[in-house]
């Protein structure tokens, strides 16, 4: 059980990263160290909160305070005022452009008010470089269930019945795609994840990869199981260095920790996953139940 009574979430997406969120993390930690609070307050670098225009963003939990345009030198004020004295730092709060009201909880901001996050549920909530936090949020449960309780046909039926569709312009039904792929006979099949994101001004793939990379790996492994592909490829652009770095970390952690996944070798921008799902291996997993 954690003995921390407060979490400071610092945005580590590309936008905030570029405006020195790393330095904010360092300064917050230094400040906590100096005040002897390292055991009570945890600083976490997360994925993107989605509000890059006002970055870098620091969120204080559990009171859900949302600080915008934080500078590294504000770290001291946040620790001294908010963490120690429990007073919010008003000048760092978000000001509603219409009502001019200072808003402290992001739930009440116009930008976030109507959002229901599904794909990005973990983005800005967990540390993307720590598989433990993903597992704590039910991560790899779906893969575990699929591998130990379902046949590939059942998985495909489940996906079909869910009505899931591709998120590209075509909106192709995912279940149908998997069914066609599974019926196709081949010596070797691959799951290919196109993380290139060519459309101008679209960054949701990058946000998922940077903020919740394990969810991509888990989904690829589920797909691999249901269509009979033992390998996966992620094609990702060199312009997304942070996403590549976090994916590599995720793959390494998953390989060390989750036995069904995932071997990996990297060549420039193409990451190759090996799901290690040879039949014997799968049966070995099943037998243990």
């Amino acid at each position: 059980m954690s003995k921390y009574s407060m979490h400071l979430l610092v945005c580590g997406g590309t936008g905030c990263h570029a405006s020195e969120s790393d330095a904010i993390v360092c300064n917050l930690r230094d400040e906590l160290e100096a005040k002897g609070l390292m055991d009570t307050v945890q600083v976490i670098l997360t994925g993107c909160f989605g509000f890059c225009e006002k970055g870098p963003i620091v969120k204080v939990m559990p009171d859900n305070t949302f600080y915008v345009q934080v500078k590294p030198e504000d770290a001291q004020t946040i620790i001294e005022e908010h963490v120690i004295k429990g007073r919010k730092v008003t000048r760092l709060l978000y000001q509603d452009p219409v009502s001019k009201e200072m808003i402290s909880d992001s739930k009440h901001m116009g930008f976030f008010k109507k959002q229901l996050r599904i794909v990005l549920r973990n983005c800005g909530f967990i540390n993307p470089e720590n598989i433990d936090e993903y597992i704590a949020r039910d991560g790899y449960q779906a893969l575990g269930k699929v591998l130990s309780e379902m046949t590939p046909e059942q998985v495909i039926k489940e996906v079909r019945d869910s009505g899931q569709r591709g998120r590209g312009g075509g909106g192709f039904p995912t279940g149908l795609k998997w069914e066609i792929a599974s019926k196709n006979k081949a010596d070797q099949k691959y799951v290919v994840c196109n993380a290139d994101e060519g459309d101008p001004g679209a960054f949701m793939d990058r946000s998922v990869l940077e903020g919740d990379p394990h969810s991509v790996l888990e989904a690829m492994a589920i797909c691999g199981y249901s269509i009979g592909a033992s390998h996966g490829l992620i094609y990702i652009r060199a312009e997304y260095p942070l996403a590549i770095a976090r994916l590599k970390i995720a793959i390494k952690q998953a390989r060390n920790m989750v036995c069904w996944a995932i071997r990996f070798s990297a060549q420039s921008t193409v990451l190759i996953l090996n799901f290690a799902m040879e039949q014997e291996h799968l049966y070995a997993v099943k037998k243990q139940h």
Binding site: M1, S2, K3, Y4, S5, M6, H7, L9, M61, P62, D63, N64, I84, K85, G86, R87, E101, F125, I126, D132, E133, I135, A136, R137, D138, G139, Y140, Q141, G144, K145, L147, S148, E149, Q253, N256, M257, V258, C259, V285, Q288, H289
Partner: protein, 133 residues
């Protein structure tokens, strides 16, 4: 890092790790859980507010009560330190003074669990000023 080799392992691991994210999960909807604020200014600390805060953190978890425990500055009742403010879901906050560990225990057992008020309440003597027109 230990390997996970079965679904049962994975579930066990998840349940172990869940607590680490507790603070963040509760922060999504803080009004749905019990909120305890411990006044932690010089006066509070000198009268033992730190011990009281640790007590609440530890005991609420041990007694399986979903709660957020935070510290705040001086509430202005220095004569009655340690003071705490308890807000049950959907109710107005109640401020308690002279909270030692015995009273803290009573507050958890009676007020937080059953809603029954206990001794030491500091009556509301302020009004919140609303700046909106």
């Amino acid at each position: 890092m230990s390997k996970i080799t079965s679904l049962a392992d994975l579930k066990k691991k998840r349940d172990e790790l869940k607590g680490g994210l507790d603070i963040r999960v509760k922060a999504i909807d803080p009004d749905s859980v019990v909120q305890v604020k411990v006044a932690m200014a010089t006066c509070g600390i000198a009268s033992g507010a730190k011990t009281v805060m640790e007590f609440f953190l530890e005991q609420l978890e041990r007694r399986n009560i979903a709660a957020i425990v935070t510290q705040t500055g001086c509430m202005g009742y220095c004569y009655a330190e340690p003071t705490i403010e308890v807000k049950l879901p959907g109710q107005d906050p109640v401020v308690y003074g002279f909270v030692d560990l015995k009273r803290a225990d009573q507050i958890i057992e009676k007020y937080i669990k059953t809603g029954e008020l206990v001794d030491g309440i500091i009556p509301v003597n302020y009004q919140t000023i609303d700046f909106k027109e």
